[in-house]
Symmetry: D2
Subunit: 267 residues, 4 copies
């Protein structure tokens, strides 16, 4: 079979939220802003043609995005015991930046934790446990393989239209606890993703004061993280294993990048 024949009868899912000024995002990162610079009619060539363009300001951790390993350090060290101070400069990170993450095109499993609890959307602050992951794996009849990708479904992307709720600054957000993180590490996954802003359980009123799962995955295990995924359609579809395409922009030395992940499932 030729690769392009893959799509015959396959289903394509777009896992990114639309990006626009004012969309929900972490207050810890530069706010996204898109402004038209030239509009049609501003400059019209002799032949009647005109071109419009825009200026975009964003953080690397804004919208649906990937966290590079360089994003988090512990006691001054990045993954692989790399001293952070020695690899960061005005040119960004000379190692472990998002440009060092090879695009992932491979198998991915979606673990529907909301379904485990008989709901469409988990409560703010709910901590996804290792047992939840086990139960979701069994319910789906799939298994998470070494070197593969795992997405944790909480239904949280359904809250995207309510920015105050979605960001979880007050009420928190559901996400994996340290037990779930250890489960992922034990399975030796290549990358892990979820729907809320941080791949963490954020208790009410806590904000991002502690990020133990980031430390375990990014620093200790070298597992890349995907955040703010739009998983609602995929959850509703019943699809639980698929081809994931994750190709962040190759921004040299950045700690993260917006991304438009795609899932391709057999029909």
């Amino acid at each position: 079979m030729q690769p392009w024949q893959l799509m015959a009868g396959a289903r394509l899912f777009d896992l990114a939220h639309p990006m626009r000024t004012g969309m929900p995002q972490s207050p810890n990162h530069p706010p996204f802003r898109m402004v038209l610079e030239r509009r049609h009619g501003d400059i019209v060539r002799a032949d009647g043609g005109s071109a419009a363009n825009e200026l975009i300001i964003t953080g690397g951790h804004v919208g649906t995005h990937v966290d590079a390993l360089a994003h988090v350090s512990q006691d001054g060290l990045l993954h692989g015991e790399t001293p952070a101070a020695s690899v960061q400069s005005n040119r960004g990170f000379s190692t472990l930046g998002i440009d060092t993450f090879p695009p992932y095109v491979g198998r991915c499993v979606l673990l529907d934790i909301a379904a485990v609890h008989g709901t469409r959307t988990l409560a703010p602050g709910y901590e996804v446990s290792a047992e939840d992951l086990d139960l979701a794996e069994k319910a789906a009849g799939v298994s998470v393989g070494e070197g593969e990708a795992v997405l944790i479904g909480t239904g949280w992307s359904r809250n995207w239209p309510d920015g105050q709720l979605f960001t979880g600054q007050v009420n928190g957000a559901p996400g994996p606890g340290t037990g779930a993180a250890q489960w992922l590490i034990d399975r030796r996954v290549r990358l892990a993703g979820a729907e809320s802003i941080a791949f963490e359980c954020i208790p009410p009123g806590r904000g991002h004061a502690e990020l133990p799962v980031h430390r375990m995955l990014l620093v200790e295990a070298g597992i890349t993280i995907v955040e703010t995924l739009r998983l609602d359609e995929l959850l509703d579809s019943g699809v639980r294993e698929f081809l994931l395409i994750l190709n962040p922009l190759p921004i040299v030395g950045a700690t993260g990048s917006p991304v438009r992940p795609l899932a391709i499932a057999a029909s």
Copy 2:
């Protein structure tokens, strides 16, 4: 076959240039800039953890990128006779923006025009003709299908390290002329891409004074354009048909977006 089995034995090509401050780009668009905001050590939590992040400024037509149909107008009209003035505002374009382009995952043909002329890189200002496309198609033993993607190989991405040369402001850049554009329209392709900054033939000293191919493809035919592709590896590989993944960021109302296209070929 399951979709993820696609990759067994397949070859993956990354068609994007790395993005960094100072990379070659059109002077008509906001210059790309990535600046670390927080570095490790700036804010250290009680548990010894620290997170770094960045601020990114870019245009939508910077680095390897996609031109949305909203990018160009002719006599005040966008594709489909849409009056540009009625759909552009501070929120961008209410139609034909890059967010309205569904990610493309499908067959793509690479037409190696440099090889037609027995060279690795075409000269600045060379105009790719319809005959060139015919010859390249025959040489490759492939055919360009309706609704599919076509990339035009000129070898120009080999000049990326020389920004002055690459941008073609002085010496021009090779690219399709109006004959080649008509060829693409006659084939009813879904999208077309190439290696230089503008999907045009840029004669020496001319700059972007006239962009007839943009008008024909974007305005008249509704064919999306991909620019500044990194095709050198693909050209050298001999691969001429493959699965192309083209998933620009869903920036609502923007006229274009950086993208990291991938090509997947049978081994």
Copy 3:
């Protein structure tokens, strides 16, 4: 007397708030952000020297700032019946922009409306009336002259440390009503300023839904506005007439600019 002898024994007041990421500002404008780009040590020359720099993002109506006449239109017309559509483009405004405002160095009167009401800070939503201006003028024993500057003191800058309160999005902010605006127009002042984000009375819960004073001053009368002034020290000092220096950045075609106004009073 030589001009520089002015300062002998004079008192200098700085009327600008410090600008920093996260400071109170209108949500209608791009948020201010200052990020160090190069830090010392990033690039060290052979001689041991190093230079740090920054990237600054701001709106023109952020921090203590001046509103140019181009900022507001009524029924499509700017001041002087200028059709707005004909003078705005990617280059900004070809007329009435902040670059057309000649720096003001001249007499200014501070009218202390808070004192008129026996308080240090007026209540959110309080509408300053023409009578208030009359009373303050009498209390100070000064008179507002034609072609001069007037500042309206409400004490609101004392609320700067409380961003939620200061911006007035929920509770409103005190400021001049249409009666006060007419008073200023009748006096034929050159410019008028105050402490809150908008030179308006903002009733609780209303936000910036209506801006009648902007229309009267900027569009009808051609009177320039200064907003978010830091007047607390000046109010406390008892100084009521002084030399005002108001020199916004000459940003060509912009509708406003941050500014650092100075007041010089006889000791």
Copy 4:
């Protein structure tokens, strides 16, 4: 005399270049860009009112600007032996930033070095010497006082319209050498300014490889620098002593800021 009476019969000079996208600036700093965000008509209130605004991107060392002491370090130390590494973070500089420079309103002397050499504009790469300063002081019949400001006139601002020439990347720019810097230090001036991008003599082809005058003034002597001043009108006027107003934006922790300096001279 009241302070505002100062202006009766005085002459006011604007010493700033207009700021616009594409203006000459150092390639070492973020390029200035002003983009209209909302234009009139984008959002029209029920009463027919509309407001336009903009987004501004700039460096702190762009256009006419002030260098704060934090801008340069030598062997890791800022002025006063302050270790740079200990005072720089994501919040900028905790000391010696531009916000710590009190606005200067005081006497200033303009030393016309071009006139010393019988020309209107000095040649690129010309090194202003201590003797030049002596001669200009004598020619003007003025004396530079302790704690005062000095501007060095080279006529270079006449080259502003020719960006390639003005920035001096190829041909260099005239400016003070180390002898002139020592002269300024010996006179214990408060601040010193000039017309080119860097307050240095830039030999042809050298760029900003070495900045000894910055080290001497900013690091060793604690003398603030003003760059890219527009002095042509002042030079032509014959005015050699005046009141200088230098009030950079109070950007907390920044190493510099754009500024609009004013000069007020007796008529």
